[in-house]
Amino acid sequence: MSKPVHSGTRTLISPVRLNQPGGRRIYRIVLGTTLVVSTVVFIGPLYWMATGGFKSSQELVRTPPTLVPEHPSTHAFTEAWDRLGMGQLLLNTVVYAGGALLLQLIFCVAAAYSLSKLRPIFGNVILGMMLASMMIPAAALVIPQYLTVLDLPLVHLNLMNTPWVIWLPTVANAFNVFLLKRFFDSIPNELLDAASIDGAGPLRTLWSVVLPLSRPILGVVSIFGLVAVWKDFLWPLITVPEHETLNVGVNTAATSMPQNTLIAGLFLASIPTIALFLVFQRNIMAGLTAGSLKG
């Protein structure tokens, strides 16, 4: 009657077992349970956050809780937007994340291209030193990094509360350089030589031969670069207290807000990255496996 459960490759449970009447029933039950449980666990809190903003503070702390807002009101959302200064927080975060992304793309791509194709002397030593920094736990270096941006060596600039303090350290991302270099290594040298015989210099070759071929890896690096700045906490907390990121700003304002305004604010703060994820989820999934499996 019902179609056999389709299977591509063989996994833990054999297709034969799965397609016996008993097997199929068990499969349905497990699938159904998993779907319900994981929807409740992962979407449930988000649902509570989204609907919580429509409730009054009294309704939010009521026992038993209400599943659907009784008298939905958007008041908490406008209030949260104003009290958090959400517009400013959002703008700050976009500037930090966008600039960091741009600088990472320029400098990490240039470095990876140089290490992969131009191969300067000491290139391997430099690559080794970059990769070794992946072993350093970020939080352990926060103190000397903080003192460094307070008074930059040689030039004696104070970067505190400027976007540079977020932008520049993100360029020192060994994982980006590694991913990009590995990708560039897979581009055949003959292609580059053809370009150089046609009279293209290294910059021209990078721009019109290498980069067009590297779109997938550039997408991966970009998305993770954006998200990393967006989610960072300790570093923006100590370096840009006067121009906070969304993540830090929400925490600063949290203590002084009524419950429903806070919940509404959390929801507003979550929208940008959730939207980004839903739009780019395919690239993000691909990036996760590309980055970690062979890395």
């Binding site: 063989r10 920094s133 736990p137 350290p169 030589d193 996760l288």
Partner: protein
């Protein structure tokens, strides 16, 4: 020497035949290297300023103290001070407790979830998006949301427990359950990435291995143990190491949810480091603690690499 300079660049070989004089050749190699380093310089400066120099500076700082604006060498004083701090050992115990519980959940849960999802012929991409959604939230948003759920009075969690006639918990308010509550938040927010990585690893296991195991009469659990685990061993151990290093640096959850309390029961090593520097203005003491953290995690990474290499040779 020259062969290493021009290795892998047939174009440069041609250039050399066109310029017969040795001087021209040297100049070319020099120009080529300068150009290559010009491409490197931006990233190189950033690495130098924000990774390599701070690394050296942290070690130097940890042996110094600043009094009235003057820097003195004080030997191991900073280290003596942190070891004598009554919060030092509790902070390590708290950190290890978090790491331990977080591994038990954060390591097992994604692996089991991935194995289950991988068996499904339906809804795989829906489940994938589902587990990864929390990863994309700004961490503070997820954390504060759970603070609301974990309120001992009106919080959703206790109301659900009451509804099911189960004992309720005081969650973040009690020393005994605070750390455990932080693990719940952290696992919910972070397990998505590990799950997707395992899922990709599971999909590369050849089906014949399961068939062979089944012919040999291996049941479900034995197939997991004798096929799935060994086939994903590399990625499992890599993720284990990354998770240990990440959870040992836990700070945000404590800072936002509990402020290190109650009674210091969630003060982690990084939290202590933050307090030294930004609440007590003792940057050199904080640097010494940073060095200790570096050494501990460095030793752990080295142990991992050594075990991995030995495993590879067998």
């Amino acid at each position: 020497m020259t062969t290493t300079l021009t290795r892998g660049r047939p174009g440069a070989e041609e250039a050399r035949t066109r310029a017969p004089q040795a001087g021209g050749h040297l100049r070319r190699a020099l120009a080529r290297n300068l150009r290559a380093h010009a491409f490197l310089i931006g990233a190189l400066l950033c690495f130098a300023l924000f990774t390599w120099y701070p690394m050296v500076r942290e070690i130097v700082m940890s042996f110094q103290k600043v009094r009235y604006g003057e820097t003195h060498w004080v030997g191991l004083d900073n280290f003596r001070q942190i070891f004598a701090d009554p919060e030092f050992w509790p902070a390590w115990r708290n950190t290890l407790e978090f790491t331990g519980i977080a591994l038990f959940f954060g390591f097992v849960a994604p692996f089991v979830t991935a194995i289950v999802i991988n068996e499904f012929r339906h809804a795989q991409s829906y489940l994938r998006i589902l587990v990864y959604l929390p990863v994309m939230l700004p961490p503070v948003a997820g954390i504060l949301l759970f603070k609301y759920f974990m309120d001992p009075g009106y919080g959703l969690f206790n109301q659900i427990l009451e509804f099911l006639h189960l004992p309720t918990s005081s969650w973040l308010a009690s020393q005994d359950t605070a750390m455990f509550s932080l693990v719940i938040v952290s696992t919910w927010a972070n397990m998505g990435s590990a799950t997707l990585v395992y899922l990709a690893a599971l999909q590369s296991i050849p089906g014949e291995l399961y068939e062979a195991a089944e012919l040999d009469g291996a049941g479900l659990l034995r197939r997991v143990w004798h096929v799935t685990v060994p086939q994903t061993r590399l990625i499992l151990s890599l993720m284990l190491m990354l998770q240990v290093v990440a959870t040992m640096q836990m700070f945000t959850e404590s800072f936002v949810l509990t402020g290190g309390g109650p009674q210091g029961s969630t003060t982690t090593v990084v939290y202590m480091l933050y307090n030294y520097a930004f609440n007590f203005d003792k940057f050199n003491t904080a640097a010494a603690l940073g060095v200790v953290l570096l050494l501990v995690l460095g030793a752990f990474s080295a142990l991992y690499l050594w075990l991995e290499r030995r495993g590879g040779e067998e």
